[in-house]
Symmetry: C2
Subunit: 319 residues, 2 copies
């Protein structure tokens, strides 16, 4: 049997076929094509799933269940997307609409996308076998999913799990959420680009200028690449970025102390360049000091597939 996993975002609808072990067998991606009605998006999800099954010579009878991750606030019990700003949805019954369109009666699970990515890492990736984990996805923003005691902790009204919108610099940089000084405003790729640009203004001699020109623009790699080429201004940017990231991570550890914190998203491709100095900074900040055992930091292993794999495995979280 196989599981269908849907990763629904503002740009693309990704549908994957996943086996019982959490392996992605094949996948399709089609544009979300906003703005358009949610029903049309659901039809594309089911059409993509059908094409995937045909392509793999599988029938709908071999599909055990379908899971979907959607951005925004999702009530998995009622099967409703309460609010998804970037899709323009309010109270859309995603589970019911997908069930209606499926050619046979299947269990359908829905969940917030950051939680789905955390489920993927927890059941089939970097956090496999852990008792608890927080998965941080460092991209344009900072997404987070919390798993404690085999449960997704998304809050009493499904609006929690947003460590990206924890203020770490009161009165600091404006965040899209309306607050000032959120973790996301500093520790996301967007935050890193801001820090890079600020340092480039102060350091006209920095290699970051030529690297950014080659890359076409300042991006999340500019400072890291400059640092690797021996540029001191680049090192300062990376160090400052890691200090903000460590601050938020130490906050999460002091609050929840999960067994693991897993870092995904584009910047996690830096691997040990990110992880080793980050661990050192975090160890200096955690409550009780580093002589007692505490949360381990790791890099996520499922990459961009975490959403599809996690969605496909949502049924497993109910067991």
């Amino acid at each position: 049997v196989v599981h269908l996993g849907v990763d629904l975002g503002g740009t693309a609808i990704k549908v994957g076929l996943v086996d019982d072990g959490g392996e992605l067998l094949s996948s399709r991606s089609v544009p979300t094509g906003l703005p358009r009605p949610p029903q049309a998006i659901c039809r594309d999800i089911v059409a993509s799933a059908t094409q995937l099954l045909e392509q793999e010579n599988l029938s709908w009878e071999q599909v055990k269940d379908l899971g979907a991750g959607a951005p925004g606030t999702v009530n998995p019990d009622r099967g409703v997307v309460i609010h998804a700003a970037n899709l323009g949805w309010w109270d859309f019954p995603l589970r019911e609409e997908l069930s209606r369109l499926l050619p046979r009666n299947l269990p359908v699970y829905i969940q917030n996308d950051a939680n789905v990515a955390a489920v993927g890492e927890y059941l089939a990736g970097s956090a496999k076998g852990a008792a608890s984990a927080v998965v941080l996805t460092i991209g344009t923003g900072v997404g987070s999913g919390i798993i404690l005691n085999h449960r997704i902790e998304s809050g009493h009204y499904f609006g929690g799990g947003e460590f990206g919108h924890m203020v770490i610099v009161q009165g600091g940089r404006s965040c899209n959420c309306g607050r000032k000084g959120c973790f996301e405003a500093y520790a996301s790729a967007t935050g890193l680009i801001h820090l890079t640009e600020e340092e480039m203004v102060r350091s006209p001699e920095s290699l970051m200028h030529s690297i950014a020109a080659q890359q076409g623009k300042v991006n999340g790699r500019t400072a890291f690449d400059a640092m690797r080429a021996g540029d001191q201004a680049g090192s300062r940017v990376v160090d400052l970025f890691l200090s903000y990231l460590a601050c938020g991570i130490a906050n999460i550890i002091n609050a929840l102390q999960p067994e693991l914190i897993c870092i995904g998203g584009g910047i996690s491709k830096e691997g040990d360049t990110l992880l080793l100095p980050l661990r050192e900074k975090v160890n200096r900040e955690i409550y009780g000091g580093s002589q007692l055992p505490s949360t381990r930091l790791q890099i996520c292993t499922l990459g961009n597939h975490a959403g599809m794999i996690g969605a496909a495995m949502l049924g497993r979280m109910q067991e």
Copy 2:
């Protein structure tokens, strides 16, 4: 049947007799008398319990269990206080030592003191009937206990649940924990006293000077009392203090969105003077805005008894 609850602190050992409904029947308090060996403290706990029972004409046969809250990092599974800085304990087998001294074989439970206070509020106080709650105790420091899904969430290595040591002002005021800018450094009574003193330097005309002189020193009530007497400088201090408190509370809501956040400790005696403006500030900061249902803020109801009552009810959390 009755339950014995022990609230062990750096200053006092409080022992209470609690009924099945979480009502405190009677209690005794003796000085902790530091520095002295943990075994002597345990003997005093059992002696106090014995005296309480005699005084209430109860026998040890009528005691169902004993629970104890201790400061620091506590492993309730092993029954060991891993580290309690203010008691000077490292790896002390508190459960075993208490069991050994008790005149009959009773279930003994131990837990961190902030978690115990949260259990008290959750089972018998302001959070009774809630599915999840975070209890903040605003005293010299900011203690916190997290209860999700009927479980105390104290972290994989029992070092979590420390929202007081979440940085909200990166690089800000030094905290006892070694970090800078912790929630506790701003939103505790100590933090409030700092804010009050800073404003008193700026405002020689403020009523806070005469109020502090009457009170003998600046304390956590000085600014609130000045505000009630119409003093603008006092109002500014209270407003600033509430802004820091709201910042940390909004962080907790964005992260965990418990059904309730309950505020205890000395400052909670301000009641609605604290709660009403605080709710307004928090609502402006929570993710997704205030149009969606979210965490309710309340004042704790058990006061200084939360520790004894929560400790006495630890056994109930195992059911």
